[in-house]
Subunit: 235 residues, 2 copies
């Protein structure tokens, strides 16, 4: 079973563990250790402790870099959504990890293999093992294969794009009508620049430029968010 797991990890993620014992340990649940005491195995709980922190930093630095205009509160909210049990257990399943975890009979019979908490721990312990065996960049690579595409496709939030983020911020205190107005287009067709204003109830709250109308709108929304954050910090 360990061999199949090693093949999966190699084919799916291009990772070959130097220390196969670490990979094995990541997939060993305490219930299995308890039922096979004579094997003197170690369960995956300490790796999970480490992997939890590895994941936290990887996601944090990704969000920090990717969303330069998002305030700390929003970043924290997004991070929490990404690393919560529900999300991680889904990632573990999508990686096919659930097939390889070694469980005790009781845990197996009570459907432990499908339990979100168990799968979440498994995802973290794999990441801990990967970090120990291959280092920080390898763990980052893995995250970029498994989690980042989900973030980019908007699985975690509407905060992804600035327009939706702005909408969310403004609608906190009730519905508002947000209007994006194309003010001008300049330059030749192949190098056109668009200029957009975003307004609420007739008041312009942000402006932006971009190579397309859509990009200019995003930029305008980002500028508006920045202004709002600054003025709300003031009060």
């Amino acid at each position: 079973m360990l061999e199949e797991l090693a093949v999966l990890v190699k084919e799916k993620f291009q990772v070959v563990f130097k220390n196969q014992t670490l990979l094995e340990q990541a997939f060993t649940h305490s219930s299995y250790v308890n039922e096979h005491r004579y094997l003197e195995l170690t369960d995956n709980e300490r790796l999970e402790f480490l992997g939890d922190a590895v994941l936290e930093l990887l996601i944090s630095q990704y969000l920090y870099a990717e969303f330069p205009e998002l305030p700390e509160g929003k970043l924290t909210k997004m991070r929490a959504a990404i690393v919560r049990e529900d999300s991680l257990s889904k990632f573990a399943k999508e990686c096919g990890f659930d097939q390889y975890i070694r469980l005790g009979k009781g845990e197996e019979n009570s459907n432990g293999r499908k339990r979100p908490a168990l799968l979440c721990d498994l995802f973290e312990s794999f990441l801990g093992a990967l970090y120990l065996d291959q280092g920080f960049d390898a763990a980052d690579n893995f995250i970029h294969q498994v989690i980042v595409p989900k973030i980019e496709s908007g699985a975690f939030s509407h905060e992804m794009d600035h327009k939706t983020a702005l909408q969310e911020i403004l609608q906190r205190n009730g519905d508002v009508a947000i209007n994006y107005q194309l003010v001008s287009e300049e330059g030749p067709a192949h190098e056109r620049e668009f200029f957009v204003e975003v307004s609420v109830s007739g008041d312009v709250i942000g402006t932006g430029t971009g190579k397309s109308k859509k990009n200019a709108e995003q930029a305008a929304a980002a500028a508006a968010i920045k202004k709002i954050n600054e003025s709300s910090a003031k009060h």
Copy 2:
């Protein structure tokens, strides 16, 4: 003031920031930004978000490596004790950071400079800036100067059992053989009392009694730690 801070960081921690703006940002509280809007500064909150995760991983990997016998639950408890507000605010003060944070007048007048939550955030934002500017190993170095010595001197040992704590303290300067010896058992079976001596290289460094051998060993280790701390406080 930024110059003095740069000198402090260089002299105390041998760190010279490539990007001084990051260092400055780490020491800029939102209340200061709000009172000096024309300066268009950025506060330290996003750096704090990042630094929080950097710290979590640094402490986790230290504990993981340093305490190979501790189960996940104990590691989690120790990590929580080390990164909690109370601890981090003390570290920030010991680093002299409290003198350099830029606060708005209101915050200054309400004694914000002494507020544990603010100092804790400051410590994390400094770590975030250090990580961005100098990388993971530099942040690890800093932690080894500021936090690890505290862990090694037993500041968080109440989170461990006394035997593990004693081992940690004694092994700071290399491996030592710690020996627990049951010296006597007294009293009737239902009220038996055990007496244990703990020694290093034949020297008794602590004694303890308890209702079981295990309890007596813990008591002996606790007594030894107390003695060691007292004598190191004297010198």
